[in-house]
């Protein structure tokens, strides 16, 4: 079972039950905005604490309220690509990519080449376009050598051409890595060959 999640998360004044169980390597959480998709992703990443429940990814137990298990975000080894990118504004692209410290300069260069951002390595995040920033965020997450990849609406606010290019790139670089992909668009899920879980 690659994703086995059953938890209750607090959303404002009310609690919401989330259940995701899939043996597929790729799962797409599809639902309207405001439906709790981002909260779910943040809970899986360990950045928001569920009220109760259990989170298993790739056979690893990350959270279990009954057993008192709650791994810190840095121990979860999940590559998170946040909706807003969250690049470090005081570090150039190369330093952003290598932030996790698990990759040498050659690996950073190889990743930059694979993502088509090699010419941007010396740039500052504020000089990147939206699509470029997404690629850097994706590379940064992958270079942390995660056990799974979580992506939160990575195509939001991109034009159709750039969206298609980035989606193909995600499909390619993610490879066999377990992938949790948040979107409101079923077509994106189908392109990634992901199992759709409605939320």
């Amino acid at each position: 079972m690659s994703f086995d999640i059953a938890m209750t998360i607090q959303r404002g004044d009310f609690a919401r039950d989330i259940a995701i169980a899939s043996t597929a390597a790729r799962v797409a959480l599809v639902g309207p905005s405001g439906g709790g998709k981002t909260s779910t992703l943040l809970a899986i990443a360990g950045l928001v604490r569920p009220n109760a429940g259990r989170i298993d990814i790739g056979g690893r137990r990350l959270f279990d309220s009954k057993a008192g298990i709650d791994l810190a975000p840095r121990e979860r080894r999940l590559g998170v690509v946040f909706q807003e990118g969250r690049l470090f504004p005081h570090l150039d692209v190369r330093a952003n990519l290598g932030y996790a410290g698990r990759a040498d300069a050659a690996a950073v260069d190889a990743m930059a080449a694979a993502l088509g951002i090699a010419p941007l390595l010396a740039r500052w995040p504020r000089h990147l376009s939206g699509g470029e920033a997404r690629r850097v965020a994706l590379g940064r997450a992958l270079l942390a050598r995660p056990a799974a990849l979580l992506l939160d609406e990575p195509l939001a606010h991109l034009d159709p051409v750039r969206s298609a290019a980035l989606l193909a790139l995600i499909d390619r670089v993610a490879g066999d890595l377990p992938l949790l992909y948040i979107t409101h668009d079923h077509a994106e899920a189908r392109t990634l060959n992901a199992e759709i879980v409605a939320l």
């Binding site: 080894r77 998170v80 942390a144």
Partner: protein
Amino acid sequence: MTPIEWQAIAVSLRVAGLATLVGLPIAFGLAWLLARRAFPGHALLDALVNLPLVLPPVVTGYLLLIAFGRDGWAGQALGWFGISVLFRWTGAAIAAGVMALPLMVAPLRQALEAGDERLEQAAASLGASPWRVFATVTLPLARPGVIAAAVLGFAKALGEFGATAIFVSAIPGETETLPLAINALLQVPGQEPAAARLAGLAIVIAFAALLAGQYWQRRAQRHRA
């Protein structure tokens, strides 16, 4: 410039330097608590930090005298280590530091409140330890606030008068800082030229500190969005 005037400048720089150096990390800790943590007594701590700003400096000096006196809690604690700050330049630094603390906490708190906690979350999700998150994300992003706090704190410490006079009095070469020396000179007929020279110097030092602060601030912000 007479040796006595130079002495006052040396004491001032030493006192303000120590007050800023030791006060800055304390101010950062307080600012972090106030900006990032919710706890019972938050409002009380906030008020306590800002108290020296509104209290008559003489009262602050008097309270320090009680706390650091031989029978005070702080005085007894330091006494264990054979240290006394009464009538010492280190005592003057304590007075200056306490008076400067609210001015150092304010810009740091502002920087930490404006700082993006989501970037710290991103760093943690990339495997960074809490200490690494602090050193590589929180602190660098708060740098303009740290610079503002250092400059404001140093300038305030340099000019502190009331609390210092009460707490450690004015001992030339030990606790007599620029403002205390100017005050002493103004009490003596015919010493106005010396007082004016020191006053001019105080202006030059304060001005230089502000200009240096602006320069560092610009450098720190060069790569920001």
